[in-house]
């Protein structure tokens, strides 16, 4: 059984901080041991989710949270917000580009979930299972 370490980044609902999410994601993916191309992929996918969360916005929440779950198997990324109206955030026609990018770059994505998080996605460390 593999130990999981959680790292959490909490960001304001502002476009200027998505670059912080990208940078932190790169560092974490590098720390786990992903190769450079996969680090870039994870970074891009995370930014796409941040973009969408920001484009919807929230009437009640000031910030949202990215939880990185690191293990020997790889990385799981969960997006969380106190505003529970943020669910199934992808779906309208303008999302086609973002969705195709996320889907191509990550292994598994839970777009619509009954769990507490907005969205969850994962990348395995060895191979593309």
């Amino acid at each position: 059984m593999s130990i999981t370490d959680n790292i959490e980044l909490i960001l304001p609902f502002k476009a200027e901080y998505v670059s912080i999410a990208r940078l932190t994601a790169s560092g974490i993916a590098n720390r786990i041991g992903f190769d450079i191309e996969t680090i870039e992929d994870i970074k891009v996918a995370i930014a796409e989710v941040c973009n969408k969360i920001l484009s919807i916005g929230s009437k009640t929440a000031q910030n949202y949270s990215i939880i990185f779950k690191l293990s020997q198997e790889g990385l799981v990324v969960e997006f969380v917000c106190s505003d529970k109206s943020l669910k199934c955030i992808f779906g309208d026609e303008n999302d086609a580009l973002g969705v195709s990018i996320i889907t191509a770059l990550m292994d598994n994505i839970e777009f619509c979930t009954k769990n507490d998080y907005i969205l969850s996605m994962s990348k395995a460390l060895e191979g593309n299972n």
Binding site: A15, S19, A47, N51, A96, L97, I101
Partner: protein, 104 residues
């Protein structure tokens, strides 16, 4: 605030060449949009976008390229994308936009 996206333009005969450098993301994309739309509207020429120093682009930026292309087509003009880095070319392929633009 450090500037993460920069442009440089030069006229090449009947085409406009634009160098984009830095990162296009949700934060910097508005300046890309106004710059590209502006050039297409005011010059009404073919557009050559040199991406040799473009390090990052997201779906917001790709959408702006698509929007620019639609505008250019109104004037019967083309858009050429030059020197895409591998990570960026990958996004064009993933999204199918490699078939929409002339990528060289």
């Amino acid at each position: 605030m450090s500037s993460e996206l920069n442009f440089r333009e030069e006229q090449l005969g009947t085409a406009m060449k634009i160098y984009i450098s830095g990162e296009v993301d949700i934060y910097t994309s508005q300046s890309l949009k106004s710059r590209l739309y502006d050039v297409v509207d005011s010059k009404q020429m073919d557009l050559i976008i040199d991406c040799r120093d473009l390090n990052y682009i997201d779906s917001t930026g790709l959408g702006i390229f698509v929007g620019t292309l639609k505008k250019a087509k109104q004037f019967d003009k083309k858009i050429y994308l030059l020197n895409l880095k591998d990570n960026i070319k990958k996004l064009f392929i993933i999204t199918g936009l490699d078939k929409v633009f002339v990528i060289e």
